[in-house]
Symmetry: C2
DNA sequence: CTGTTAGCGCATTCAA
DNA sequence: TTGAATGCGCTAACAG
């Protein structure tokens, strides 16, 4: 009742030493088939599962990955976590998760320390890049020689990371609008602390500059990713830029708010105002009207991150030092009604 | 460089035995203030953090909670996870997370075994209740005497759980529609495997029965929680029930699809068709029109679950056996334009 | 092929 | 108030 079965119990029951049981557990070749069979049988009967705790402690190598994330209330981060878990599971890792609830107040110090205390083999840092977090992390991690993969951060050659090409996404969206013949193209950017927000905006800037459209500052408003902030930002934009023809909104939730603002303002979309979003959340195809948006495979971001961390770990164990790797995934444009001049 | 600081290093450096360091770590009273100070100083200097692995192994008591979840792509489950993490963190627990990606194929057996192998202190089972999972779990858990809190399952006296009163939610929504004067009130239910879906539907049934409205079967369609399934279900409903006056949709995403279907069908909401959703996702206030919906505090569900698990664990350690507890949270109705006959 | 010895990092006896 | 010995469950290195 409630007793934990240990390797000892198995050994006793099978009439062998614990070492032999350990060998069977780890699929070592140096066990006679007969003995192996018997031990396996006992293991099954007793429902024995080796303690990962003890195993990690003795073996000195943990099979747990640490994940530090934030903004799980948003589509991207939560999907990415799913991708991380999926891949981690495939590769035989367990996941210890820490969330940063208010990314601004803490630098994730306690989260990191907790994970280290739990002897995680490596870390996936999936937190919006804000302030000096990165520098601080480097100091803390370098001396521990703990492999880390960063998610969605600014390109940097000494860092292993996976990111979407947010800049390209911004360009895709803006280019599309230009091609549709729009000129006065505004932007509702995300929170400026987020790298994603800044990068999407820079794509927009680049294309407008190429097209020779100036006075970008007046065409810009910012939100906090929420629909309500998108609504507010769009109201401001409509009030300040009477001849606004189109707007690139940095995520779909804000785009939803923007659509409502346009409706309230009496500007029909897409006839009198074109809108393009970012994310392609499943709901965006059902907005009024269906939203043209930039799709990013956030699940894949998570998968790649784990694969990469796995590679780093393998190299680490073979005492080789793998140089920093990186993967930049490309988003694609999904065209729906909200940006098309002649609706079908 | 990369060396892990252990309790030994601290002891040597401080000129005391590891036992004394251990005492300081655990805030034992039997250490002279002077020694304590010195040890603490060294701990700080060396940046020492005790290995949770070793600590758990020796102490026999882990401070990690296991979470088995699924459907993290939906608003509810993902918010609940945030609540779980938040509370766990407050109480000093770490979280090991396993996701069931296809709830139908597996019974979560491997997830559970993994968590047990990692010696988690207790488990939060946040998976949609499907088939015989529960029974199977009971067998597996009872013999391990491992405390578990279930989320969103059918009331059952021998089980510790936290749930929303989904039935009441269904009733609130339907009652509201009845009060508005609607009679032919349809439903777009969630996947029938989900307890939440069945319970919300039963609330709808109850109110309609009270109101003496019959032929419920023809008023029902089902979806899979997605906006696209809501769209399809609504199309069917509109085709099959020409005199449909209102519809209760079991979640907001499906309601979004339903709204679009109504628009395509040429039925204006709320003038010619009232719609009520469920969840109150942040976006729902920005639907076209803004959605009347049933709000549930899913974050609180997660918090409560952890508190409850914590209580169970405390009792467990004091070798007392706490009887099964349960908490049922009440949802509230949020009235917006989609259900109001005279729009403001 | 199999068992013995030692030790992972810490906490829990029991003495001193 | 402090320390030495022992063990948690498992694996690594060495014997036999």
């Amino acid at each position: 009742m409630g007793k934990i079965v240990t390797i000892k119990d198995v050994a006793r029951e099978a009439g062998v030493s614990i070492m032999t049981v350990s060998r069977v557990l780890n699929n070592r070749p140096d066990v006679s088939p007969k003995t192996r069979k018997r031990v396996q049988k006992i293991i099954g009967e007793l429902g024995f599962a080796p303690s990962e705790l003890a195993r990690n402690l003795s073996h000195g190598r943990s099979s747990t990955l640490g994940v530090v994330s934030s903004g799980l209330e948003f589509y991207g981060p939560s999907r990415t976590l799913v991708g991380i878990e999926k891949k981690a599971n495939e590769l035989g890792y367990s996941l210890m998760v820490r969330l940063l609830h208010s990314p601004l107040e803490s630098r994730g110090e306690s989260a990191l320390n907790d994970l280290i205390a739990h002897q995680v083999a490596g870390i996936i840092w999936a937190v919006a890049e804000i302030g000096d977090q990165r520098e601080w992390l480097y100091g803390h991690l370098a001396e521990r020689a703990l492999p880390v993969v960063f998610l969605n951060i600014k390109n940097r050659s000494d860092t292993t990371f996976v990111a979407m090409d947010n800049r390209m996404g911004g360009k895709l969206a803006t280019e599309h609008l230009i091609k549709q013949g729009y000129q006065r193209i505004g932007i509702i950017a995300g929170p400026q602390e987020w790298w994603e927000a800044r990068d999407r905006e820079s794509g927009w800037r680049e294309i407008l500059a190429e097209a020779g459209i100036g006075d970008l500052q007046s065409l810009k408003e910012s939100g906090d990713w929420s629909a309500s902030s998108g609504y507010q930002a769009m109201m401001n934009l409509l009030a300040n830029v009477p001849d606004l023809e189109a707007v690139f909104v940095s995520n779909d939730s804000m785009a939803l708010g923007a659509l409502q603002a346009a409706a309230v303002y009496g500007r029909s979309v897409p006839q009198e105002l074109a809108v393009v979003g970012f994310d392609d959340i499943p709901e965006s195809a059902y907005f009024t009207p269906p939203l043209t948006t930039v799709r990013q495979d956030v699940l894949e971001v998570g998968c790649q991150a784990v694969s990469m961390l796995n590679q780093q770990l393998q190299a680490h164990y073979n005492s080789g030092h793998l140089p920093a790797q990186s993967a930049i995934l490309e988003p694609t444009l999904i065209v729906r009604q909200s940006s098309i001049r002649e609706p079908t």
